[in-house]
């Protein structure tokens, strides 16, 4: 029954008008108008709702393309997967390639180790460095072991500059006694390197075999003595300057050897 249904719908007070059949009919005719009004309000809402759906509509278009691509992939993959399946299992190709890769990796590592182990000693091979080391070690030995009682300072300066580390201690052990008697005897010691050769040159380290002659003159009575020395000298590259950091003496007395090793 439509009339009874409409009644519970809140309607504006009829303004104290008596409930007449005719009036009731008017009110009923008004009601649809009032109901229509919210419907009009709702209409823009519907439009607003429509806008988001329109935005949402584009992704579906993209989504639609993606499945298409996936489908194409599947279509492409399927025959590939099917083809080997016909003759051999699908895993055989990747596994074979992995075996090949593992073998090549092993071979490459073998070559790497081999090429590293080729590293040779650069003595004489690197002629520029070899002659630099040779010359500087000669100079260091001659300057720091030559001594003039009148000019102690230059010997000590040379020793400080051209020797380093353990060699400084060894130098003091060997040269200390000479320095003690030098002022009274007015000693002049001249060391000359007769021959020398670089026996090893590697990674900033060098070993040089040095043959030196030593002439000692006691100027108080002009007595002259001489001797020969054979040294194995280690030198390190200290920023372009090769400095002696260890000395071994061949044919040294047991006392001297003990002193040198005590450093």
């Amino acid at each position: 029954m439509p009339p009874s249904r409409r009644r519970p719908i809140p309607t504006p007070p009829s303004g104290g008008r008596p409930k007449v059949a005719g009036l009731h009919r008017r009110a009923a005719s008004d009601e649809p108008a009032e109901v229509a009004a919210p419907e009009v309000v709702q209409e823009p809402e519907a439009e607003e709702l429509k806008a988001p759906t329109a935005v949402e509509w584009t992704p579906p278009a993209a989504k639609k393309a993606a499945p298409k691509k996936a489908a194409a992939d599947e279509a492409a993959a399927e025959p590939v997967a099917d083809e080997p399946a016909a003759s051999r299992p699908a895993w055989i190709l990747p596994v074979a390639l992995l075996v090949v890769a593992a073998l090549l990796g092993g071979l490459g590592t073998f070559f790497l180790v081999k090429s590293r182990s080729v590293a040779y000693d650069a003595a004489l091979v690197d002629s520029a460095t070899t002659s630099a080391v040779n010359g500087q070690v000669r100079e260091a030995v001659e300057k720091s072991f030559s001594y003039n009682f009148a000019d102690v300072e230059s010997t000590e300066k040379a020793a400080r500059e051209l020797l380093t580390g353990k060699a400084l201690c060894q130098y003091n052990a060997v040269f200390g006694p000479v320095k003690e008697v030098a002022p009274q005897q007015k000693l002049v010691v001249t060391v000359r390197v007769v021959s020398s050769a670089v026996s090893s040159l590697k990674d900033g380290r060098a070993t040089v075999l040095v043959f030196a002659d030593q002439v000692t003159t006691r100027t108080t009575d002009n007595q002259t003595g001489g001797g020969t020395a054979m040294l194995r000298v280690s030198a390190i590259d200290d920023g372009g300057r090769w400095k002696i950091d260890n000395m071994e003496m061949f044919g040294a007395t047991s006392d001297q050897t003990r002193q040198l090793q005590g450093c």
């Binding site: 190709l93 090549l104 990796g105 080729v118 040779y120 650069a122 091979v125 002659d213 020969t228």
Partner: protein
Amino acid sequence: MRIFTVLAVVLAVLTFGYAAYFGVAWYSASHSSESSFAATRDDALRSGQVGITNFLTLDYKKVDEDLQRWLNSSTGELRAEIDKDKDSRKKQLVDAKSVTSSKVLDSAITELDDRAGTASMIAVVESTVTPDNGQKVTKINRYLTKLTRTDDGWKLSQLGPLRAGV
């Protein structure tokens, strides 16, 4: 399965590159003029050490054997010299009645000419001389020797002690 194949291909290509790179590196390193020069130097040094030891080792009881060894480890000038006065030298050694044994303590090549096949070497040698009925004496001396390459390897062409004031 396809992704595994692609990964395996990529891996195989990468490892091929790796192996090829270090294969070439190894080849070029071991065939470089530097490494062959270093090998020549080591060869000359070894031959020089053996040669000096041979020359400074003798026993008056087997002089013929010693002299033959001297001839075998020398060439050129030095060999001619030994060969020339072999007999007087032999008599001298027998009369001295001493046994000498030597050991190279250290040595180094001073010069090396790979093309000419010549080298110079210095060495520190410890020699022990034992007279027939006397006390043995150990001395350390320094030597300079010249080496020449022959078909039969490096041989001594000059040998002499480096005395003081040389």
